[in-house]
Symmetry: C2
Subunit: 638 residues, 2 copies
Amino acid sequence: MSNYKVKFLPDDKNVEVAEGATLLEAAEKADIYINSLCGGEGLCGECRLQVISGKARADKNAIGFFSKEEIENGYVLACQTKVEDNLEAVVPAKSHLEKEKIVTEGVSLIYSEPESISLYKRPTDPASFFEPLVSKVYLELREPTLDDNIADIDRITRELSKKTRYSSFEISLACLQNLAAKLRQHKWHVTATVARHNGIGRILQIEGGDTTNQNYGLAVDVGTTTVVVQLVNLKTGKVIGVEGSHNRQARYGEDVISRMVFACSRGGLEPVHEAVIANINTLTQALSREKGIDTKDITSIVAAGNTTMSHFLLGLMPCSIRLEPYVPTATIYPQITARDIGIDINPQGILEVMPSVASYVGGDIVAGALACGLADKQEVQCLVDVGTNGEIAVGNNDWIVCCSASAGPAFEGEGSKWGMRATKGAMEKIEIKDGQVTYETIGKAKPRGICGSGLIDAIYELARNKVIGQDGKFNLSPDGRRIIVEDNEPQYILAFPEETETGQAITISESEIGNLIKSKGAVFAAMKSLTDYVGLTFDQLNIIYVAGGFGSSLDIPKAVAIGLLPDVDTSKIQFIGNSSIMGARMALLSTPAFEKAVNIAKKTTNIELSNYLPFMDEFMAALFLPHTDTSLFSSVHY
Amino acid sequence: MSNYKVKFLPDDKNVEVAEGATLLEAAEKADIYINSLCGGEGLCGECRLQVISGKARADKNAIGFFSKEEIENGYVLACQTKVEDNLEAVVPAKSHLEKEKIVTEGVSLIYSEPESISLYKRPTDPASFFEPLVSKVYLELREPTLDDNIADIDRITRELSKKTRYSSFEISLACLQNLAAKLRQHKWHVTATVARHNGIGRILQIEGGDTTNQNYGLAVDVGTTTVVVQLVNLKTGKVIGVEGSHNRQARYGEDVISRMVFACSRGGLEPVHEAVIANINTLTQALSREKGIDTKDITSIVAAGNTTMSHFLLGLMPCSIRLEPYVPTATIYPQITARDIGIDINPQGILEVMPSVASYVGGDIVAGALACGLADKQEVQCLVDVGTNGEIAVGNNDWIVCCSASAGPAFEGEGSKWGMRATKGAMEKIEIKDGQVTYETIGKAKPRGICGSGLIDAIYELARNKVIGQDGKFNLSPDGRRIIVEDNEPQYILAFPEETETGQAITISESEIGNLIKSKGAVFAAMKSLTDYVGLTFDQLNIIYVAGGFGSSLDIPKAVAIGLLPDVDTSKIQFIGNSSIMGARMALLSTPAFEKAVNIAKKTTNIELSNYLPFMDEFMAALFLPHTDTSLFSSVHY
């Protein structure tokens, strides 16, 4: 079988593949991320490429995705096209998954957190104590004598039980095997690295001398779309760096369902598992290089993600998560040695994955519930995490119920032409007055697209200005200025070509508005169903925390006005950003917090909305701005 | 550098080694065991070989070990002689470590146990419950539904907590990784293998269907001289096979001290560690072949040995055990996956090493104390384990004290010309009357040597017949019949050439008798010191259990008469054989028994005899038959 060369433009990346490989596989090999929402099934039509030289064999079933002109110009679907010659192919900007900007631009605003929510220290709350899951303890041991000749390891644990919360310890054989020489070589001055494991102390390593200044941990948010890693100094508790990147699993499908289909059929679990490991390793290496830290001094990781992401991370088959009755392999995950799944930190360093509640209520929402103290108070609080799934948790120190609804990635900036994540150049605040659009962008750059908070603003402003009706359809006819028709549907121009970075107009179309209304409707219907289920009204919620990747801030009144959030006293609604990584970091820094997270996962009752009939009615009723039942939004007037 | 061929005779084994390798190394490579008491230091003179062709370079310091005639005939020390040519060397029978007979001959009598001591089942004693450390539990799970869609692993543990003593469980990632498919493939009928680990249940594997009939364990006695493996059916509790062999570490030194010197200096730990692993693997393979058992169905091992042997087994450096203040790395050993140290059983199968008390009071004596129920009763009991070290434990359900004294391997049949372990052909009972010697041998074979019990008989009979005095010296002059002079010292012929298997006379010499008196003196002095220490007389001991490799039986009155055991009512002395493997098997078959062993190890106080001044006086006083203080042996008359 022959090998052929494929050149990808405009990146000018060259790669050699065997005859018959698909262009999508070739692109993967060239490390080019191409949109593939359906996971390479030839169904979504997202992985468009233009072959400009050489012979490729495209599947004729893919023809439906292209105009006659496009076909003549060599447009194909990368996943349905086989390499049969040396080729040159152009990757259109739309197909090319944008390289994550926050990697090169440093800390993105999206990952900042309100100070009031970040790890607090209140002596009355045991979970607030600073007591990392893995700590280093320096020991100056007395030399053994004939009157005190207990075993070396007992000499260590005798001292450790005075200096830690643990009274018994376990130790790996590897750690024992060079212990005797190490103790004597370092004159009985050593540092023990101790992790919590099944309620007892697990000694991960013994180092010579005092190394307590070299102890770092990672809080990781494994999102469907984005992977974020925070590097934390475990001696001081301070975050010293953050990096994020696109989840590399996107090449196997944009959403969790298509990734599960990929992993459970032709593709296998391995590449999907390895993709996220590569994500974490790349981000960790970048962080440690940047901060001058040796990765062997990273002793612990706490990762939070939805249940499917957690399964992929640990290499657990997620196939039964996808199908009724939606059963995961595990919800409380074992503590493992990170190195065992290929994460390159200290060889004995541990990985804890935040526990899940059920197949569609994951460790991310548990982390969020931990971060906002849902289980701490007698008052009933609510957490709404708007990601690709909308996840809602309601509860107090006695009980927690939660549910999940597919919201689509609209508010994360996916699935619309100009939607983007909340990185530099994203329009995050928009106002329309007298036909004039004013806006703010992240980093005060020229606009490159619109992030979640901008989209909420846009819909609200369009409705307030009667550009669209409360059904989301355009009221006004095209005027040739802001309102135009493209691809057979009305669009509103939010930024003219001369204002933008790309020189193209940034628009929002009727169908995109429709998608956003479906997303907000799903989130609201889930909140309504869940509160109804427990017999509460929205007013009885003491506070509503809103988490998600909307942007650096969220205009709460506008979010209420479009019907995403309920019409309550807006001072009771608080936007907290990425609560998943916040909770992961709390667990990393506080053993009692980690234990509390396990308790939250165990005590939370999951309500399967697919099983709960009123949900569909609620969803249908919510497909309106703000809602078909105006009595629910009595303070909202357009 | 050239390679040379070395042929070893009479085995006719050929091997190729690099120039400069020693003949001892060549022999190791050829898998020929050669005596090397000193560990290859050129000190003991045991590794004599005769080079009959080719050129070797012998160290001139070794000359002292040979007569002029021997040197002319090519005799050298294998450890001090380098290969510089193709060679042929003859291994004399004396240098050649006899291949362990019990391997080929099946169950040796030495490993049998009195039924009264072997695993009992008394409902009043929690330790007597049959409840293996690793058990297989068959589960018929209900299929998940939307109303009962807990995680797969939770479905398993929910059922396991009903069927086992555990309420919480840990599971390895490897075990989770294929769980979902396995459960569905086998229609929710699976077998869980569960081990006790830090007080909770550790799920080692999940197999499809009912495999509870395939669950085996190994009880292993890692003796300094001999390694014995019992294969146990963990469903029935029955021993289904036993194999034993010479400890292959002997090539690195005959006793623990020289092996420690080897491991802590030139040789390194690795070969000593690997030798005992190879022992266990060879014996296990032989047993499983013989019994038609797949080694992957062996799920657990409990090994007992002295502290140094336990360290070697686990690959822990024993260097500080040897030197004051005698500190081991650990006395309570971690549960490990046997495969991690190269033991070839089920990949998830566990190894527990019986806990030790101190550097010279090991897991073998703890196992023995468990086996004879030392901690079970209010009455004070005593265990005397006569091995290369004599180890004594005295105690009851409240307290236990113990000590250890170097006894030498005399009673295990080592260190004398015709001494042998209690295998086929060993003279185990000897009587002398009117100058006539009558004897019994193991397996009723022609005599090949004398085992421990035979040596005790021989000394007693020689003294009773006034052949030797109570100081162990020959009274009678050589008579040319039974009493002869050889190698410049008097010898007594116990079997004439025409009676024996080898056609050589089996003798016992004055210096050998002296060594045996030293050994018995050390054991008695240790017992006396320990009972004095706790303020007890021998009469206050409720029972004295005697363990060790003497033979299939031990003539208690004769053992008392030579002063090995104290002069108490002999009905209170009970010989129990190999109590180490008995205790290991109890722990293997009973989790409460294993837990009790840990408690025994923790609550036992070790008395360092090297630190206890009266011991040396006791030892000097005991170098007489039966003792210099005749009031201690008032019932003994020669």
